[in-house]
């Protein structure tokens, strides 16, 4: 159960992290930095705080679980731990993904009180490193799952509030 993060996931992730670090300014060490993992649903980018990400794995067969909200696609086994997988598209009320894509990933997040949860996304692109004061409050709070907006090139990405995102019981 205490097995370390698997080597491929770790190195892939490190590559991403190094790439992101290379692009950052790197001058202002004193300011608090936020690290965000950028993920995609169709043409829309979102982000998750890196400190809540345990690992990223390829999509593999998911065992469906009865009597759960539709966005919980089922469970998969992660080196002996059985983890629920939330389909992010369904969680946000978007149309389900069409067809199979080799780029789909499950991002394994550390949930409340140490419970792991997988989040199914279309693809993962990079780790964004930025100063925390660059974050902006979200425009609308209705959905409640977005904690902040982060500048991303010419655009913003929505940064999820992980605990709210994983609170799917009310669905």
């Amino acid at each position: 159960m205490s097995a370390p993060v698997s080597a491929p996931a770790r190195s892939g992730f490190d590559l991403l992290a190094r790439a992101a670090a290379g692009r950052g300014e790197g001058a202002d060490e004193s300011a608090a930095e936020a690290e965000l993992l950028v993920l995609w649903l169709g043409d829309d980018a979102y982000a998750l705080p890196v400190e809540r990400v345990r690992e990223i794995v390829r999509l593999r067969p998911i065992t469906p679980v009865p009597r759960v909200p539709a966005c919980v696609r089922g469970v998969l086994s992660l080196r002996g731990e059985i983890v629920q997988v939330v389909d992010l598209r369904l969680r946000l009320g978007l149309a389900p993904a069409q067809g199979a894509s080799p780029r789909r990933r499950v991002i394994v997040l550390n949930g409340e009180d140490g419970q792991l949860t997988g989040v199914l996304v279309d693809r993962v692109s990079e780790v964004l490193r930025l100063r925390e004061d660059a974050l902006r409050p979200p425009t609308e709070r209705d959905a409640g799952t977005v904690a902040a907006l982060a500048p991303y090139g010419e655009r913003f990405v929505s940064v999820f509030d992980v605990d709210r995102l994983l609170d799917v019981a009310g669905e």
Partner: protein
């Protein structure tokens, strides 16, 4: 569960060991205190217990000091003082002294548990307790008795320590006979012989002192004399000793009549004794430091997490083993490789056997007797008795029944709750009981026994029973039930498990408010267990817990439904049937089957889990599952054989999926959900229309 624990706050290893060691000491002290109180109730102070308690307090002091817990160390020091006072007779072994000990041990328990509580508050509590102990110790000692030792050999008396002398006086005061038992042993093997002799003597009395005796024994021999206080006469004691050449000399005759001595214990039932005194005799206990050192060195304390890890490893090996078996099968099928396949098959068989042994071994290590929990309960009842002034006796049976440590731990709270309910609500006040023609003292009976692959624990009281009409009224008020709905008594009793429904209008501090049997059921269900309730008005209530012996590895029956596969714990499977579709009957929309003359309620797994219905074939596979005395037939599409499975909790945002106990990984077959049989059985007993 296991997963949450592994990732709990990372307390440092040293701190964890400290806590586990202190908890162990406290457990031992609690159990000894309980025994001490029982012994006192029978009119004597058990010297061995007082000694053991003293040693425990001493260890506690040492370890608390070592880790810099000054308050705890000081408390332990004062515990020592009190216990020393008791065993030396300076302090009367009465209820206040025992309560003081109880409360101090509880305070220390609180200090260990609440690591981050209010420090100032804890400090104040420690100070207050120490002040009370000091006050008790300064109270005048009981008057010195007239010297009963006159007439005994002064040389012998000189050899006794202060403590031994006190024990001798105590024995004389109780009217015991005093004997000197002498025997010679070969030097090379005297330890064994001596402990055997001690054991034999202890059956008939108390060994006050063991002294090497000068004598004319042969060179290769060593002679001992045991000073014994006993309820039996010299000849009878000699008859119990099976050691060649042993002699028993009576130094002082007993005061009591032969009739009284033949029944050293009160004749009334002492079921407590069965639970607490059935420990295997420890070699040479109370026989000096030599033996006690030995007994410490041959046990090892193990963190349960390490056992979990071992269990996981074994589980993974079992899966690998299955893969090897499959390869052997494949090789066997091809004539070109059949020979290798056969050889691999043999190796696989041997591996399978060894693995089964390994699995059984690891499982056995995890087993602990229920006595630990029962002792805690008996302490709670004593405290309730003290605080409420209500006299209730607690009968304990089956404390030796063993269960997985993890289950035993998780069981403590539900059992506590049920016992408190019985004490507070079920047992009537003495006057009411007498008026109803019952014994004035109520009884709560705790009983544990093994039944097949399960352990059953029953908490039975002889109280007023559950008032079904009151339950009904309450349920209607809470909106759980329509006013005109007709339910059988059994169905009404089931409502006790509904959230928020307490069975008594009275709310007390101990049972709390609205605390319910729903939590009890939920916790026990989480362990794969079942809670059932039976109650007769005026006669009493019995709550039965049926639990699997272990959670770690189970044998599972794999079943297929639609395109999915599920595992059903085999220990809950009574049989599997293939039935012709027309034999399935319906009544009020529910399906059932005539199983050898008894109606068997049926549930279709695909309907339960919202899966596609199978094309109706002529024959249907039915898995008959049972827990306690409830039975349900589960209709599935396919039976797919048996397999070992390690049940894992499911992590993620949805905490409890009704009907699913967890999941297991089965090699190439992927992850398979494990069916929660208890939930299926319970749901079929009382389909909740509201849900």
């Amino acid at each position: 569960m296991a997963a949450r624990r592994t990732r709990g706050q990372a307390r440092s290893r040293a701190a964890r060991e400290f806590v586990s060691e202190v908890e162990e000491i406290l457990d031992r002290m609690r159990s000894d205190l309980a025994d001490l109180a029982d012994a006192r109730a029978r009119g004597r102070l058990d010297a061995d217990l007082a000694n053991r308690l003293f040693r425990s307090a001493h260890s506690l002091k040492g370890i608390a000091g070592m880790f810099g817990f000054e308050g705890m160390s000081e408390l332990a020091h004062h515990l020592e003082d009190v216990l020393d006072g008791l065993r030396m007779g300076r302090l009367a072994a009465d209820a206040p002294a025992l309560n003081l000990l109880d409360e101090t041990v509880e305070l220390v328990t609180g200090l260990v548990g609440g690591g981050d509580g209010d420090a100032a508050e804890a400090e104040a509590a420690v100070r207050a307790m120490i002040a009370r102990i000091e006050a008790a110790l300064e109270a005048p000692a009981p008057p010195a008795p007239p010297d009963e030792l006159d007439g005994l050999d002064p040389q012998l008396l000189r050899a006794l320590t202060e403590y031994e002398e006190h024990r001798l006086r105590e024995a004389l005061r109780r009217g015991c006979a005093i004997h000197l038992v002498e025997a010679s042993f070969e030097i090379l093997s005297f330890e064994e012989g001596l402990s055997e002799l001690t054991r034999a003597v202890r059956d008939g009395g108390e060994v006050i002192s063991t002294l090497p005796a000068p004598g004319d024994s042969a060179d290769s021999q060593i002679r001992f004399s045991l000073l014994v206080g006993s309820d039996v006469a010299a000849e009878e004691l000699r008859g119990r000793i099976d050691v060649a050449g042993a002699t028993v000399r009576e130094l002082r005759a007993g005061v009591r009549s032969a009739a009284a001595t033949s029944a050293p214990q009160p004749p009334g039932p002492q079921p407590d004794a069965a639970a607490t005194e059935s420990e295997p005799p420890r070699a040479g206990e109370g026989n000096g430091e030599l033996e006690s050192l030995k007994s410490i060195s041959d046990t090892v304390r193990v963190d349960i997490r390490k056992l979990d890890e071992l269990m996981n490893l074994v589980g993974e090996l079992v899966i690998q083993r299955g893969a090897i078996g499959a390869i052997a099968e494949r090789l066997l099928r091809d004539p070109a490789t059949a020979k290798i396949g056969r050889e691999l098959g043999k190796v696989h068989k041997a591996l399978e056997r060894r693995l089964a042994d390994l699995q059984a071994g690891v499982l056995e290590v995890r087993m602990v007797p229920l006595r630990q929990v029962f002792e805690k309960l008996s302490r709670v009842v004593r405290r309730l008795r003290r605080d409420s002034g209500k006299d209730v006796s607690l009968d304990i049976r089956g404390g030796d029944t063993e269960l997985d440590k993890l289950i035993v731990e998780q069981l403590a709270d539900p059992l506590m709750h049920v016992v408190r309910n019985a004490f507070d609500h079920a047992i009537e006040p003495a006057a009411e009981r007498s008026a109803a023609g019952k014994p004035a003292v109520g009884t709560i009976r705790l009983d544990a026994f093994q039944r097949g692959n399960h352990v059953v624990i029953q908490v039975a009281d002889d109280g007023r029973g559950i008032d079904a009409d009151a339950v009904r009224a309450r349920a209607v008020r809470l909106g759980l039930l329509a006013g005109d709905e007709s339910l059988s008594r059994k169905q009404l009793l089931e409502l006790v498990f509904a959230p928020g429904l307490s069975t008594s209008a009275e709310v007390t501090e101990t049972s709390g408010r609205g605390v319910g049997m729903d939590v009890v059921r939920e916790n026990v269900n989480a362990l794969g267990g079942l809670v059932q309730l039976d109650s007769e008005p005026g006669r009493g209530t019995t709550v039965s817990f049926t639990l699997p012996i272990t959670l770690a590895i189970i044998q599972a029956l794999l079943v297929g439904v639609d395109d999915q596969r599920f595992a059903i714990p085999l220990n809950a499977v009574l049989e599997t049937l293939l039935v012709d579709a027309p034999t399935i009957q319906r009544s009020e929309g529910r399906e059932f089957l005539n199983l050898r003359g008894e109606p068997l309620p049926l549930r279709r797994l695909h309907a339960e889990f919202g899966l596609a219905a199978p094309a109706t074939g002529a024959r249907q596979a039915v898995v008959v599952v049972g827990l306690g005395d409830a039975r349900v037939g589960v209709l599935v599409d396919r039976l797919e054989g048996q397999q070992d499975a390690v049940i894992k909790p499911i992590q993620g945002p949805i905490r409890n999926v009704r009907g699913i106990a967890g999941a297991t990984e089965l090699g190439q077959q992927g992850t398979v959900l494990v069916i929660d049989v208890a939930a299926l059985v319970e749901d079929s007993g009382h389909r909740r229309e509201a849900a």
